[in-house]
Amino acid sequence: MTGKNSSGKEISVLKYIDEYRNPELVKAIITEIDREFSTETIQLMEVCGGHTITIYRYGIHKLLPTNLHLISGPGCPVCVTGVQYIDQAIAIARQENVIIASFGDMIRVPGSSSSLQKEKGAGADIRVCYSPMDAVRIAEKNPEKEVVFLGIGFETTAPTVAAAVESAFEHKIENFSVLSAHKTMPQAMKALLDSGDVDLQGFICPGHVSAITGTHIYDFIARDYHIPCVVSGFEPVDMLQTILMILRQINSNRADVENQYSRSVRESGNPKALELMWEIFEEADAEWRGLGIIPGSGLNIREKYHDFDAKIKFSVDVPPARECAGCICRDIMRGVKVPTDCKLFKIVCNPQDPKGSCMVSSEGTCATWFKYVENELNP
C-alpha cells in the first residue's frame, strides 16, 4: 500500500507494521537488552507522546529490566501549551464574527475558567480541522468572518501551518490568521537537562520531529552533556531496538546521535519543509507548561506575514492564567512526577472531564496512563 507524504512523493505506509510487531523479534531484542543491562539504575526519556503510547499500549515497560526506567518527556503538543494561550483563544472565540479552527484535542483543554469546547456549547463557532489548509478553505468560504487557526505543535506541524500562511498570503485571504504557540524541541530538552530535575542516561528522540529537522539537532546533547540520543520509530520493535542501541552506547561509554528510524528519518531531515517553516516563522521565546519560558524555543510569525498573525490582529489581553488547583501536569511534563502521584488522577480527573492538559490529549501522559497503565494485566 502506498500513501503520499507532504511533498507529494509516494511512500510506503504499512509494509513494515507486521514486521515491527513480530513477537519473536521482540523476544530476541529483550534477550539482548537483558544481556547488555547491568544492575545499575538507568533512566531514559522518551520525549514524544507517540512513543509514550507505544510503550504503554504494548506494555513495553514491563518487558524491560526492573531498573531500566522510561520517563515521559515534554513531547505532547497539547500538553506543553500554556493555559494563557487557551485563555487567549477563548477570548478571541468570544468576539463577533470569528471562527476558531483547531486540531481536535485543543478544544478540550481547560483554560483558567472555560474551554473551547464549553464555548462551542455556548454558541462560539469552533471547528475541528485535520490540517491547517482546512482553515484556509474555511476562511475562503466565509469572507465575512475572521478565521483564526490555533497553531500549536513542534517542528512536525509548523511547516504545514507555514504552508497555510503562505497560501493565504499568496491568495490574499486576509480573513485568515494563526495564533501561534509553535515550539521547537531541542531547546526544551536543553532546558530540562539544565534544570537538573531529572537524571537521564539517554534520550529516545522523537521520530516525526526528526523527519523534518534531521538528526543534527541533538548533536549538542551528545557532545555537551555526554548523553546518548537515538531517534526512534513508533512500533514495539522500533522502541526496543532504540533502547538496545542506547544501552550499547552506555556500555561502550559513547554518547552519539544514532538513527533507528532510518526508514523515515534522514540525517538532513526535510530541507524543503524547514525552508518553508523559517520563511514564515522566526525564533522566539516561548512558554512551556511545566518548564516556564524557554529562550528561543518558540516560533513567531515574521513581520512580513503580520497580517496573518492573530496575536497582532486581535491584540488579546487576558488576566494571568490560573491552573486547576492540585493539578500536577507541570511536574509530569518535566518527568519529575508520574500521573499516579496526582491527587486528582482518576478521582476527579479523567478523559471525560479532564482537569489538566495531560489528561486531554490522547498523547498526554495522564491520558495514556488512564487508558493503558491502569488497564494492564499481568501476563
Binding site: 505506509v13 510487531r21 506494555g59 513531547g75 456549547g121 478523559p351
Partner: protein, 335 residues
C-alpha cells in the same frame, strides 16, 4: 453528568451510555426497554415482534460505499436482524433544512428504495418536516422498523458462557475510516469504502441453521470495543480478543496509524459481532464465508471466566490489556 450535552454524548461510547442509563432509563424504564438491546421484543396479539428506531445524522451525506439513505435503511434492518427478527416494515421521518437541493433528496430516496428492496422491507409510513436554514445540517433521517421475531430463538447476554467464541463477519472499521477520509482531504492515494449494507440475510441464515448463538449486535458507533463492553459489562465473564486475529484492512490501518485512531473504536455499518458456542463456531464461520460479502469473517476471541465484566486484548507482542468503551469523541492526534 455534565450540565450541557456535548458531542461525546452522541459518540455511542461511555458518555452515551451514561446519558441513557441516568436519564432516559430513569424515566422511561420498562421490561421491553431495560435490556437496552438494539430493538425491543414486544407482543402484539400473542405474536412476538421486534420494534426499533434509529436517527441518522452523517456528514458528508454521500460517501464512498453509501449515503445517508442507504445508511438509514441498513441501520434499522440490521438492528432488527441482530435481535432475531425478519425485517418487515420501516418508517421514514425526514427533517430537511431549507435550501436543500431536491436533486440530492431524490438521490437519497432512490438509495433508500434500492436498499429496502434488497432488504425485503417496505417503507410504509413517513413524515417530512422542513426547518429554517441553519436549524439542521442538510437532512436528518429517522427510521423505525418492525420485524417478525423468528420462532423459538432466544438471544441475550444471559446466555453467554465461558468458552464461547466471538466472531465478526468481516473487516472492522471500514465505515468509520471511510467517513473520516471523506470528511477531510488526506494526502493518501488509497480509497476506503464504507461497509454500509443490510446484513439480515447472513444473520437469518445463521439463526435458521444453528442453535448455539448466544447474542449478536452490530458494532456501529463506538466500534467493536464498545459493543464487546456492552456484552461483558456487569457480567460474570470476560471477553478476550486477539489483536493478531482482527481483520483490519491495510488501508484502514494506514489511515489510523498517523492520526492516532484505533480501529477497535471505528464505526461499522455492515458488520455484526456474534457470540456462539464453541462447538458451532467453525460451522458458523463456514456458513458465513459461503455468503457474499462475508468472506473475511473471522474468529477474533473467546469468552473467558476471568476477569469478569472486562474486555481484554492480547496484543501482537503478547502483552494483555483491558479495552474500555469509547470515551469522549475520537479526535485525531496532532504530532
Amino acid at each position: 453528568m455534565n450540565h450541557v450535552i456535548s458531542l461525546a454524548h452522541g459518540s455511542g461510547g461511555l458518555q452515551s451510555h451514561t446519558l441513557i442509563r441516568e436519564l432516559f432509563l430513569e424515566y422511561f424504564g420498562n421490561a421491553a426497554l431495560n435490556p437496552l438491546s438494539d430493538g425491543a421484543l414486544v407482543k402484539v396479539n400473542s405474536e412476538k415482534i421486534v420494534f426499533t428506531t434509529d436517527s441518522h445524522v452523517i456528514k458528508p451525506l454521500f460517501y464512498p460505499g453509501g449515503d445517508i439513505g442507504k445508511l438509514a435503511v441498513s441501520g434499522t434492518v440490521n438492528d432488527l436482524a441482530v435481535c432475531g427478527a425478519i425485517p418487515r416494515w420501516i418508517s421514514c421521518g425526514m427533517i430537511i433544512e431549507e435550501g436543500f437541493p431536491i436533486a440530492d433528496l431524490e438521490k437519497i430516496v432512490i438509495s433508500m428504495k434500492q436498499t429496502a428492496e434488497y432488504a425485503d422491507v417496505q417503507i410504509v409510513t413517513g413524515d417530512t418536516k422542513v426547518v429554517e436554514k441553519g436549524a439542521a445540517d442538510g437532512i436528518f433521517i429517522n427510521t423505525a422498523g418492525i420485524g417478525d421475531r423468528i420462532e423459538g430463538i432466544e438471544l441475550g447476554v444471559q446466555r453467554i458462557l465461558p468458552g464461547d467464541i466471538v466472531i465478526i463477519n468481516g473487516f472492522i472499521g471500514d465505515h468509520g475510516a471511510a467517513i473520516i477520509k471523506a470528511r477531510e482531504e488526506f494526502p493518501v492515494s488509497f480509497q476506503i469504502s464504507s461497509d454500509c449494507r443490510p446484513i439480515h440475510k447472513e444473520i437469518i441464515a445463521l439463526l435458521s441453521k444453528l442453535d448455539g448463538i448466544r447474542i449478536m449486535r452490530d458494532p456501529t458507533r463506538g466500534g467493536i470495543a464498545t459493543t464487546l463492553n456492552e456484552f461483558a459489562g456487569d457480567q460474570p465473564f470476560g471477553i478476550l480478543i486477539h489483536e493478531k486475529l482482527l481483520p483490519i484492512r491495510t488501508e484502514v490501518q494506514g489511515l489510523c496509524e498517523p492520526l492516532g485512531f484505533d480501529p477497535l473504536y471505528l464505526a461499522n455499518e455492515g458488520k455484526f459481532l456474534l457470540i456462539i458456542s464453541s462447538k458451532e463456531a467453525d460451522n458458523a464461520l463456514e456458513i458465513l464465508k459461503s455468503l457474499p460479502g462475508n468472506q473475511n469473517a473471522a474468529t477474533i476471541g473467546e469468552v473467558v471466566p476471568e476477569p469478569p465484566g472486562k474486555v481484554i486484548l492480547k496484543t501482537h507482542i503478547g502483552s494483555s490489556r483491558i479495552i474500555d468503551m469509547l470515551s469522549g469523541e475520537m479526535l485525531p492526534r496532532i504530532c
